[in-house]
Symmetry: C2
Subunit: 300 residues, 2 copies
């Protein structure tokens, strides 16, 4: 399972029951929270997100609609008795803001909060199951997008064959890495006999807030699912540029240039009551587009 | 019109679609916001509160469930182009927290935010229409309750009589202050002939978070409407005391001792799914009790 669940899809002002930016990426048994606008913890309750499963949070930038819900979520995690460490990746000034708020409340979180300041693009997380890369976007203040890439074993188990060759389950992990199996009698079972080539690892890119910038297409080249903001409809290109945001047509162009398989659009301006035109305009230029509707989970 | 509208009635953790503390007091054409938990701006939209009418905000203390929604509200007021000054009364450390968050976003609010640190009990606001007094409560961190008192002219106009005596409307304000009217011919119309004694001015006390403390009854003596927290039911007195909160029976006792006309209870622990028992227990000891249900407006 590799998927993203949208908790908030609106830009600066909450409107029409749309909430500021927040989304949860599920990668097998891991949950990652990307951005955390005001009300995210309530949206988590509404959509039954298991917040105890979140060990990594990524904040794109310090405009309030992307992080004002974070301190409430952290405090609630504490009240609920969390003790697992939590890793927070965000622009550096957030650390002081959180510290001051905890101090003002005389609150000591019962878990360790590891703050990782994100100050430049590059890989920020790498472990055997996944990696995360930060990339810069062009916005009014320092802003980062994030790419989550799963890692896969080179081979996957051929369930029929491992039974046929009577290979113990304890050896499966080694099989996935490509090892041959040697029986008690010294017989060598070639790895290819009991495994299959694995699928290519999948990837998800969240492009945060950004002006139209063709460099982003390079940065997110080939991702399976690309989330790109579309704050405005296509006829508002000038307004979008002046506010360092993007239109529908521009997001479609980035997805096209990047060779993304699918495009997810969101961060809608509160001047729009309905979203149909966003989908229609973007699909016209990039067919594999979906609206980031709140409460919906999109497979990556 | 003197009334309070409840936007949030829950304690620390949002639960069962109950929100953290926030309430709006309407006094004629003025709105006052008291506390501003996360999601308050969304609750304002839901219950059609005209945020542009709010010129004074009072924050009781710096536990997050009482102020984490403030920065989002201020930012949204700015995005909506507010230019009226806004007066914020709160414990001193909040100023730095707000400043840091605005700096991190490179945001300059387009209106003047007057920060008034509340550091000790006493009158914090006094004008011809109303006054506001802060009083200390006993909680885990410095915490203040607020009493809003309307002011009334000593006399009110007797509409029939002013017409009968042909008194110009321009003189009504002086009549309300008790002045006699002198006609062009030098005839003196005694004030009592054209006015009536006014009703006693009304008052509302918000007691914030507090342990059971009989001194509060003194501080809020004789208010028309008393808001007192009831975080727990009566059987949890020990737990309430250990966390510096109050039970139903204790809130009723304070209302009784204070000689309050009516009692409003709220700040319910998220361990309770339903609130019927809160009302029943409190009413048993103080009949004029109402539950602070969200979206409801209570006349003062």
């Amino acid at each position: 399972m590799f998927a993203v669940t949208i908790l908030g899809n609106n830009s600066a002002l909450p409107a029409y029951d749309r909430h500021p930016t927040a989304q949860v990426v599920t990668l097998n048994d891991q949950l990652f929270l990307i951005d955390c606008g005001e009300g995210t913890q309530m949206q988590m309750a509404r959509y039954k997100i298991r917040r105890s499963k979140i060990n990594h949070i990524f904040i794109s930038h310090l405009h309030g609609d992307h992080y004002f819900g974070l301190i409430g979520l952290l405090t609630s995690m504490g009240l609920l008795g969390r003790d697992n460490p939590l890793h927070l990746y965000a622009p550096a000034p957030l650390e002081k803001i959180i510290t001051l708020q905890l101090e003002a409340a005389s609150t000591n979180l019962p878990f360790t909060l590891h703050f990782h300041p994100v100050t430049e693009p590059g890989q920020i997380l790498d472990n055997p199951k996944f990696s995360v890369e930060a990339f810069s976007t062009q916005h009014r203040i320092p802003c980062f997008g994030y790419i989550i890439r799963e890692k896969r074993n080179p081979r996957r188990i051929n369930k029929e064959k491992v039974v046929e060759y009577n290979i113990p389950a304890a050896f499966y992990d080694q099989l996935k890495q490509g090892a041959d199996y040697v029986t008690k009698d010294g017989e060598v079972i070639a790895n290819e006999s009991v495994t299959l080539p694995n699928l290519a690892p999948r990837s998800y890119a969240f492009c945060a807030d950004t002006i139209y910038d063709e460099q982003i297409a390079e940065k997110v080249r080939g991702v399976n699912l690309l989330y790109h903001e579309t704050t405005y409809l296509a006829d508002q290109a000038e307004r979008a540029a002046s506010r360092f945001h993007t239109t529908t047509a521009q997001a479609a162009a980035i997805a096209q240039k990047a060779g993304a398989q699918k495009l997810l659009i969101g961060h809608f301006s509160s001047k729009y009551e309905t979203l149909d035109a966003f989908l229609a305009e973007t699909k016209a230029a990039f067919a594999q587009t979906q609206l980031a509707t709140e409460g919906t989970t999109f497979l990556i």
